[in-house]
């Protein structure tokens, strides 16, 4: 019996009038995947570091994220405590095993810090982004024990630390960095590109925040 895989591939080849063995075609596909041409990059994000930072903040705020700039990572715990207090939230925060977060001076606050994936009971979680995209105010996060994906979606408030040095002009510029970390063609289980807090327009086309994911997205940018 012919497998469905063979049937479908044969049907595609019959329609295209090819055998699948043509060396030119194989070479074209291999070359495209290997070279991964960038295409056309809009001018908007192509600025110096300060310009990218300013654009990222403008774009993130434009999609209803809140943004705070900090001179140094050591200021993160106090900024988190302030955010939770101002939003009338319990003084508790959940995070993964990322040493960039774990080693911060949390003991200087009264926050209850817990670690690991979310089981749906946390109101607030904090993650570390791998990159930010200035063009659209997008955060890019990689899954792993360091930053579990459930923290990005289950808590009502998602706080994300982003190094200003990791802000790129465009999404295309994120991929070479990812390939450096995971090897060409390699990927973490999940890459989340997050642009603002969750929303839905399904009731009479009115945009409402907080559909299924976080109701609030708070970005802490480390400028130092």
């Amino acid at each position: 019996m012919t497998s469905s895989r063979a049937t479908i591939l044969a049907s595609i080849r019959r329609s295209l009038g090819v055998s699948g063995d043509e060396r030119m075609r194989i070479a074209a596909v291999e070359e495209r995947i290997e070279r991964a041409p960038k295409g056309l990059i809009p001018a908007r994000g192509q600025r110096d570091a300060a310009g990218k930072l300013a654009l990222f903040i403008e774009k993130a705020e434009g999609v209803q994220a809140s943004v705070i700039s900090l001179a140094d990572a050591s200021a993160v715990p106090e900024a988190v405590a302030t955010y939770l207090r101002e939003n009338n939230l319990p003084a508790a925060i959940r995070m993964g095993e990322d040493t960039r977060l774990k080693t911060l001076p949390w003991d200087k606050t009264t926050l209850a810090v817990s670690h690991g994936r979310s089981l749906g009971l946390d109101l607030a979680a904090i993650s570390h982004a791998e990159a930010g995209v200035a063009e659209t105010g997008t955060l890019v996060l990689f899954s792993g024990a360091e930053n579990p994906t459930t923290l990005n979606f289950l808590p009502d408030h998602h706080l994300v630390v982003l190094n200003a040095a990791d802000i790129t002009g465009d999404l295309e510029s994120v991929w070479p960095r990812l390939r450096k970390m995971y090897g060409k063609g390699g990927m973490p289980r999940t890459v989340n590109c997050i642009t603002g807090p969750s929303r839905s327009g399904d009731i009479e086309q009115t945009i409402l925040l907080g559909a299924h994911g976080p109701r609030s997205l708070h970005i802490l940018i480390i400028e130092g």
Binding site: I8, I33, E97, T138, R189, T195, E204, A211, P214
Partner: protein, 479 residues
């Protein structure tokens, strides 16, 4: 065929839709919201037009090498620990999905929004086999409560208003206080969030579609705003992706280019809130994510569209810009089209997938105004392809007798230029007299059905040929 189609009764469906005052009122949101938002987003990106051309080239290149990209993609999925299943048709796709769920001992299955699972009729198949499918996109959830199909490919409940949704929630969510206040839209959203949160945490399998499949990495990508697709795929033990073969793109860079077109064309956003790239099952070091990852690659007639006059349709990225800008869709909504895909893209795709005998009426649901093609981010020549379908319908004698006689009658005059000029001049004068300068007829004898939904414009000057001649003589022989 997978889902029961009412495409054959398209004319009756459309008439009924236009007489439904509530529906036509609700549909105003399509015109008011989508068109302006898209126009603004496009205006704000000077490179948009150039990117359309690039998006078209990326898809054309991929389709011309689709067999090879599928092989490269499948190899990468397997390499990352996932499984790829091939489904020739809807029945095979349903059977594969059911078997995976049964092996996982699944009782409930959460679903991210997916047109492909609508196309294969997955929910009905699961229900018939003792597995409860739960739609989690707010719009899909609402129509599932009502037992309806989506009426729009990205806004499935666009045909409903707040009052109708509130009534459905009160009817179904009987465990909640009957006296609760649901006056605000946010109250409805909060209620759905609460009800579905429990379902997310309890589900055994999560099923999503895919906006893109990346050959370079073996990655499936979903683009959403609510986050429901993510909760669907990271919480259960098993993640199934069901996607059709034309979702392939070569690289991450290629996806990034097309993403600039997708959200702008769909909702007028620059980026949707969540663009999620999933590759294989959770790694040993992961704290969460599915233990098993399956991709079901569906053909269902698409491979036969390659190399022919409908290949361009396979560039479609399902943004819905064509229906958002379609005067016919604005009048009748999505359900009247009678199958899964409404609007101009549906009028081209549906006959390809379920046959012109079944869906031959749909390509007639166009005035050829060309707005769909002008906003299509993938530059798909939709009106031209609808014309191809009309030709096939005529060749196969599928048009009603009256339409064929009418065309024959017209052809007789068109082949006799003098007679044509004489007849049209007489008709112009006659109609102009009859309209008494009002410029339009709100009803015409014998055309009652046609004029019920719109006015018939009355001629107010000369025929086109006469005007052309006059212009040519004024310009010394040149028109």
């Amino acid at each position: 065929m997978s889902v029961h189609a009412t495409t054959q009764s398209f004319k009756a469906n459309a008439t009924r839709a236009m007489a439904d005052g509530q529906l036509t009122g609700n549909l105003k949101a399509v015109r008011q919201n989508f068109i302006d938002k898209r126009a603004k987003a496009v205006q704000y990106l000077p490179e948009f037009e150039a990117l359309r051309e690039i998006g078209k080239e990326i898809k054309n290149h991929t389709l011309a090498h689709l067999d090879l990209y599928i092989e490269a993609y499948a190899a990468k999925v397997e390499e990352s620990g996932g499984h790829v299943h091939f489904a020739v048709d809807a029945a095979e796709a349903r059977a594969i999905a059911l078997e995976i769920c049964q092996k996982a001992g699944a009782k409930t299955v959460t679903k991210g929004k997916s047109m492909i699972t609508e196309e294969v009729g997955l929910n009905a198949h699961f229900s018939a086999n003792g597995i409860t499918p739960i739609e989690t996109d707010l719009g899909e959830y609402i129509i599932q409560l009502r037992g309806e199909a989506p009426s729009h490919i990205i806004a499935p409940a666009v045909h409903l208003n707040k009052g109708q949704i509130e009534a459905d929630f009160r009817r179904v969510h009987t465990h909640l206080d009957p006296a609760r206040n649901l006056d605000e839209k946010t109250a409805l959203l909060t209620e759905a969030r609460g009800v579905l949160r429990e379902r997310f945490l309890a589900a055994d399998v999560g099923i999503t579609g895919a906006n893109f499949l990346v050959a370079e990495t073996g990655t499936s990508i979903i683009v959403t705003n609510e986050g429901n697709g993510d909760l669907t795929q990271i919480l259960p033990k098993v993640h199934i992706v069901m996607a059709s073969i034309e979702k392939l793109v070569p690289t991450l860079e290629d996806v990034s280019q097309i993403l600039r077109l997708l959200a702008r064309s769909a909702t007028g956003q620059e980026m949707s809130v969540y663009t999620t790239l999933s590759t294989g099952p959770k790694r040993a070091s992961d704290a969460d994510g599915p233990e098993d990852y399956h991709v079901i690659l569906l053909d269902n007639g698409r491979s036969s569209m390659l190399g022919g006059e409908f290949q361009d349709m396979l560039r479609c990225i399902r943004c819905a810009a064509c229906m958002n800008h379609c005067p016919v869709y604005h009048q009748i909504g999505g359900h009247a089209y009678g199958w899964i895909y409404p609007g101009p893209m549906g009028s081209v795709l549906t006959p390809s997938l379920i046959g012109v005998d079944e869906a031959g009426h749909l390509p007639n649901a166009s005035t050829f105004c060309g707005r769909c093609e002008s906003v299509c981010p993938m530059k798909i020549p939709l009106p031209n392809m609808m014309r191809h379908w009309r030709e096939r319908e005529f060749e196969r004698n599928l048009n009603p007798a009256l339409a064929r006689y009418g065309l024959g009658f017209w052809a007789f005059f068109a082949k006799n230029p003098r007679l044509y000029g004489l007849a049209t001049r007489a008709a112009m004068k006659g109609l102009a007299l009859l309209s008494r300068g009002r410029g339009r007829f709100s009803s015409l004898p014998g055309l009652g059905a046609w004029t019920k939904g719109r006015d018939f414009a009355a001629p107010e000057g000369e025929t086109f040929q006469a005007a052309w001649k006059k212009r040519a003589s004024q310009n010394g022989g040149r028109a």
